[in-house]
């Protein structure tokens, strides 16, 4: 990106001043090297989002921002329903409530060394992964609606988890005000046998080791010590969310003129929050959030079964579960008053700070765990939210490393088998049904996750707590 297009507000904050049809300025959080490498499309997209009706404060992009659909991936924007604010299907994305769940195992590196290979093979055999895989349960129409209303709570009530898991999940495991009736038959058909599947693409399940702590107090609160083994699960709402995204994107694109919304890009398709279409999408999207929460709960159950067999001394406890493709109704202090806003985070993670009322007692003093997935060869991070009022972008942070190269280019550049062998030589065991999928997800196709996280911390978006390194990766 050309730095001449931007006004530097501070070392890690770059503004695109309000101009033309922009209603608010756009702000990108990044270090100078990250912003130089950032796709010019991020500039266009973050500027376009600033033109949407009812947008509040600014259109934001996180340090891992890259070219998305309408919104940049790594985009954050909040809208006020009382000021004609909109809700955008593109601003949430196709994989509604895609997110990360982190599980403690209660084990350290020495416990798993001897069984690492078997652990990888057993997880790969038991976790439905890759194209066309199906889950262990097939949902009836009644079960489907109950799942879409109840989320992870529904799964726990069915015996797939522990009641205490729920307090470590956003929304206590259940997104309220979901409308299963707003979800089409096609979306439900697509999901019929996909619950409890990992998916493909950038989704994964990893066994990771805590290798470094940055904030001892927060790490202690999160129960993380150097050498600890955790499980990290990255996946979303599967076919149901994809179909809801597809259908509402189209309807919003067709109906936008009827609502008097002129779109700088058709992909920004949106509807007034107060409109019937806006409310239908909101209800369907919330149902998809429940689907993602239930999905990660079922996967947690499968992981627990595998550990119970191979490492019975393990006790898998949820550290946290946070989504990075959502639109949520939240209260924020803006210009000295509290406003209720619809906050879109597309490839961005909520990062509530210490004292936030939605956090469970055990986490309230430290703040919300912010789970950042890197690429399979590098590492992941656990961050914590900063105190509200001190945290910009409506308490949001980055979500991952962000791609540096297209799948097309990665597929041409790397050979999947070679990537697996190179990682194996570095002690990382990879299992995947697709070698081409591995090539497309090669570590080199991603930005440096450490540079992204360092920029997020320096910009005040969140603070670093721990770094994790992968040992086993089951890749979709």
């Amino acid at each position: 990106m050309d730095l001449a297009l931007l006004t530097r507000r501070s070392e890690y904050e770059w503004e695109i001043p309000r101009q033309g049809a922009m209603r608010v300025p756009a702000v990108i959080f990044a270090s100078e090297p990250l912003i130089r490498d950032m796709d010019k499309k991020v500039y266009e997209q973050v500027t376009n989002v600033a033109m949407l009706p009812g947008i509040v404060e600014a259109s934001y992009a996180m340090p891992d921002a890259h070219w998305g659909y309408g919104f940049p991936i790594g985009g954050v924007a909040a809208f006020d329903a009382d000021e004609g604010g909109v809700i955008s299907a593109g601003g949430v994305g196709f994989d509604i409530s895609c997110g990360v769940r982190c599980l403690h195992t209660g084990l350290t590196r020495s416990h798993i060394t001897a069984v690492e290979g078997r652990l990888a093979d057993t997880l790969f055999a038991r976790i439905p992964v890759g194209v066309g895989s199906t889950g262990l349960i097939r949902l009836s129409a009644e079960d489907m609606d109950a799942m879409l209303t109840g989320g992870a709570r529904w799964a726990v009530e069915r015996g797939w988890g522990l009641p205490r898991d729920l307090e470590r999940i956003e929304e206590s495991g259940q997104m309220l005000h979901a409308k299963p009736g707003a979800v089409s038959t096609r979306a439900k058909t697509r999901q019929r046998d996909e619950l409890g599947t990992l998916g493909s693409g950038n989704h994964y399940l990893e066994i990771q080791e805590v290798t470094q702590l940055f904030d001892e107090q927060a790490a202690q609160c999160f129960g993380l010590r150097v050498g600890d083994i955790v499980v990290m699960i990255h996946c979303g709402s599967r076919g149901l969310g994809h179909q809801i995204g597809t259908e509402f994107l189209k309807q919003m694109a067709i109906d936008a003129p009827r609502y008097g919304i002129s779109l700088p890009d058709r992909e920004l398709a949106c509807a007034p929050i107060a409109s019937e279409l806006g409310q239908q999408y909101l209800g369907a999207m919330r149902a998809a959030i429940n689907c993602a929460l239930a999905n990660r709960q079922l996967l947690t159950h499968l992981v627990r079964e595998v550990f119970a067999e191979l490492l019975p001394q393990a006790a898998l406890e949820v550290l946290y579960d946070v989504s990075h493709n959502t639109c949520k109704l939240e209260e924020h202090r803006i210009g000295g008053r509290t406003r209720t806003l619809y906050v879109h985070r597309k490839g961005a993670t909520r990062a509530f700070g210490p004292g936030h009322p939605s956090l469970p007692d055990a986490l309230r003093a430290v703040g919300q765990p912010v789970l950042i997935g890197g690429s399979m060869g590098t590492g992941s991070y656990v961050l914590a939210g900063n105190r509200q009022g001190e945290s910009p972008a409506f308490s949001s942070a980055c979500h991952g490393a962000g791609r540096a190269m297209s799948r097309h280019q990665a597929h041409k550049t790397w050979n999947g088998r070679q990537v697996v062998e190179e990682l194996a030589a570095r002690g990382i065991v990879v299992r995947s049904p697709s070698m081409r999928g591995i090539a497309e997800e090669a570590p080199g196709a991603y930005k440096d996750v450490s540079a992204v996280v360092d920029a997020a911390e320096a910009a005040g978006l969140a603070r670093k707590v721990a770094r994790l390194a992968p040992l086993v990766c089951v890749k979709g």
Partner: protein
């Protein structure tokens, strides 16, 4: 002269169909879509599925068409290797020939979440038509 190709997008893949007619370009774009998931040469045209869709303009129709194929792949667990498309104004009618997904043989790389409106274009260029968009994987 009909053919398909992929083009790069930041995080995902662009699919482009080129043909003598708009319908042929749509057929080729669907092949490009399937090729994101698996090698088309491994897919046998054993059974047909009818597809019908409708949209207010050519570009939205392309997205509808590709998303109809994405749906069939996901809901019926099928892959396709041959398409026959007829377009009449806002309406599209087609047959898609393929077979049930067989992972060991088809070795699918990735599933497609949906066709997007990014770099979406349906247009005549000289003697041929092109139909393209980016798909989210």
């Amino acid at each position: 002269m009909s053919r398909w190709e992929h083009f790069p997008h930041g995080a995902d893949v662009g699919v482009r169909g080129i043909g003598a007619t708009k319908a042929e370009a749509f057929e080729q774009a669907a092949l490009a879509l399937i090729a994101v998931m698996a090698d088309v040469a491994t897919i046998e045209a054993r059974e047909a599925r009818p597809v019908e869709c409708e949209a207010p303009d050519d570009e939205l129709l392309l997205v509808e068409w590709l998303n109809a194929i994405v749906y069939l792949v996901a809901a019926d667990k099928m892959l396709f290797s041959r398409f026959s498309v007829e377009i009449d104004g806002p309406r599209l009618e087609a047959q898609a020939w393929g077979e049930r997904l067989d992972p060991p043989r088809h070795r699918p790389a990735v599933e497609i979440k949906g066709a997007t409106y990014t770099m979406l274009r349906v247009a005549r260029e000289g003697d041929s038509w092109i139909a393209q968009t980016v798909v989210d994987v």
